[in-house]
Amino acid sequence: MLATAIIVFREVLEAALIIGIVLAATQGLARRVSWVSMGIMAGVAGAGLVAWFADAISSALAGVGQEVFNAGIMLFAVLMLGWHNVWMKRHGREMAQQMCDMGQAVKLGNRSMYMLAVVIGLAVLREGSEVVLFLYGIAVAQQDSPGLMLSGGVLGLLSGAMMGLLMYRGLVRISSRYLFTVTTWMITLLAAGMAAQAAGFLTQADLLPPLVQSMWDTSGIVAQNSVFGRVLQTLIGYADHPSGMQVLFYVATLAGIAVLMRLYGSAPSSKVQPVNAIET
């Protein structure tokens, strides 16, 4: 049962951390919990589908369907996360100062929440499909009794969810002046890490060259498969043996999001000249 719990925990962990970060980053946006919940539920439903069709996906596209699917999901999430950052930079200040009317603020908030709900749904889908298949495998092999297996799974799920909650709690302690900057950075790093993972899948499918086999080997310091390693992998995209292509994707995503935020991130109303000398 413990083995089941550990494996389920590790899969749930990634999705839970992302959910915690998104909830902290969207404090103040209307009905964000409903959006996040919808994302989770859609992800769970999708996970079941993906698990069901896993071999059809795998043998698609000359046998590299699974890699392309995973890479595609990750890259799409990268786009959503980057877009969110740019839009929040552009309109976040406006919404906070209520410079737009309420309808506009709600509309902008909804768009952003939609993007993030998709990211959450995709994360839950990816990790969830592995959990579903893993639990199915145990049921088939009859290694554990159904009761033990279920409790192991629930234990893993709750522990993983707890980590997400801790992440959220830890983040919202940060004073609101800095919270925006911190969560923006966390979302950028999240995106860079996902881009690096996508690169890994595309290299595995022989669609991209690795460039350099291993840029470094830090598995002696922090093993990627340890719990701490997995947390770092999700939060900052840590890998103990990244290929050159993975590092390239990582840096390109960091740079790309930073540049886009610079170019498009200034609120349109910043062009307004101060009219009165008298401050209210």
Binding site: G137, Q204, D206, L207, D240
Partner: protein
């Protein structure tokens, strides 16, 4: 949204390019059964791209995973999957089966 549409372009070109993707890589076989790999050591030539052909004899699905090699592939029972590896520097690279981590362990030796 415009973003969604131009993402389709590289995706479609990938779909067209893939069937042209060369299948000429030397193949090395690996089998998973009852939570164990066989053989547990696979020797491959260093400095060359190869493909690992992994067959899952069950029961249940398995996930071939190696952080040394940066590879991760889910294989359902009764199915076979391919994973491209290399070119590798000479050395030993460990892999596991994530769903049976204690018993499904092996290594690739590149010479």
């Amino acid at each position: 949204m415009i973003v969604k549409y131009w993402v389709l372009v590289p995706a479609l070109s990938l779909g067209i390019a893939l069937p042209l993707h060369a299948e000429n890589l030397p193949a090395f076989n690996l089998t998973i059964k009852d939570g164990r790999y066989s053989p547990e050591q696979v020797e491959i030539p260093a400095g060359q791209k190869i493909k690992l052909v992994i067959k899952n004899d069950g029961p249940g699905p398995e996930e071939f995973e190696s952080s040394d090699l940066n590879r991760e592939k889910l294989i359902k029972a009764g199915k076979t999957a391919e994973v491209t590896i290399g070119p590798l520097n000479p050395g030993i690279y460990k892999f596991i089966g994530e769903f049976h981590p204690k018993t499904a362990q092996g290594r690739i030796v590149a010479k």
